[in-house]
Homo-oligomer: 251 residues x 2
Amino acid sequence: LKITLAYDGTRFVGWQRQADGESIQGLLESALARLEGAPVTAHGAGRTDAGVHAVGQVASATVSFSHDPATVFRSLNAQLPADVRVLAVDEAAPGFHARFSARRKTYRYQIAQAPTASPFERAFAWHVPEPLDVPAMDTAAAALVGTHDFAAFHSTGSPAATTVRTIMRSEWRRQATGFAGVGQECLLVYEVSGDGFLRHMVRTVVGTLVEVGRGWRPSSSVGELLEGGTRAAAGPTAPAHGLFLVQVEYD
Amino acid sequence: LKITLAYDGTRFVGWQRQADGESIQGLLESALARLEGAPVTAHGAGRTDAGVHAVGQVASATVSFSHDPATVFRSLNAQLPADVRVLAVDEAAPGFHARFSARRKTYRYQIAQAPTASPFERAFAWHVPEPLDVPAMDTAAAALVGTHDFAAFHSTGSPAATTVRTIMRSEWRRQATGFAGVGQECLLVYEVSGDGFLRHMVRTVVGTLVEVGRGWRPSSSVGELLEGGTRAAAGPTAPAHGLFLVQVEYD
């Protein structure tokens, strides 16, 4: 099965099952196990961290039950809490694996750039009260497009075999907060698509680009970080609650 | 002082101080009392119910301290929790009263009309899975504009001296959910401006208009309710968590 999900990550330990705390994987596996009558393993396309949200996470699971996808869809949503919603259930081709079959993933990072943090965005955007130079951030973001070694932008100790990744899109834009009528401000939205992302990579990129926006480092420093920079030379890891896994694409 | 506030009403008992539970009025009065060194009373323009949100509530308070408005602004936001934010502090003319001086108030009601409720809107929109006839709802809404007796649209037992109110604007529109990238759906947004609103009036209007949208009652029934209908003949009270006090205007 290919299962597409959205979740508000605020209260979870992340996608992945942990010894303590509730995970989205754990909830989904429990709901599938009730249909299967036996344990089921679900693989997620992106192992989102604690506090990270998703509007288009994809999970794969192999099951033997013969309920049609519409029945599974209803049953899963009936079992899952309101902050986790199944958006679609599809039959997948044999061998489909949500993570290994993924060709392209898109993440979004939201910044609430306003003197006063809106109560309606505090769980879904990083509040930066100071003005940011968005054109400089966008210039720096564009330098990430292409195939590069992202070693400077990932958490040390992460087990990736290679730190080379290909980024197809990396850009900032201003977006009015259509939601909840908070007309006083707009969001700064960063969208990045790539063939894969290292642990904490998007958040480290955002932390670095915000330092560019603050004037603390030049736009050109991003290119230098790609050409052999170290994690210590990059910016801080931006807070988890501004990050969304938006879309996962397959062949 | 004239104090403009935004709040996520989810966890509060409403604007007004109550024997049990946290209220926005109570929090604001406590924060003002710390500056004043004595108890302070704050009057709200709209006494929003439990669960109702605000993006532009206005409160008035008479104080004797001489801190400038910018200092009061910072001090209040430092004291208040993240789900209540002061947006502005202004010196008001003598005799200013947030409720009695108000000339026009605007409320918004948000409906998430989609088969699956988005995790990101569950606290800020009423989820209606069934399709709604929005043009019929808008036609019915337009019939409310003007000066009418809204007795059919208010909670019995409310203490208003008169149930006549003037509505300047009453309309539905579709709005993309720019927030959080939930591109799968749009919100149905009702905006209504008037010189005043009875208790539960907006929510009863919305509950009635949604019955029009479902085809359970004709658009013309709204006119009949205004011409001597009873509360029992109107629709149900829509849930509190879709309602926002948007703006309060003064001379």
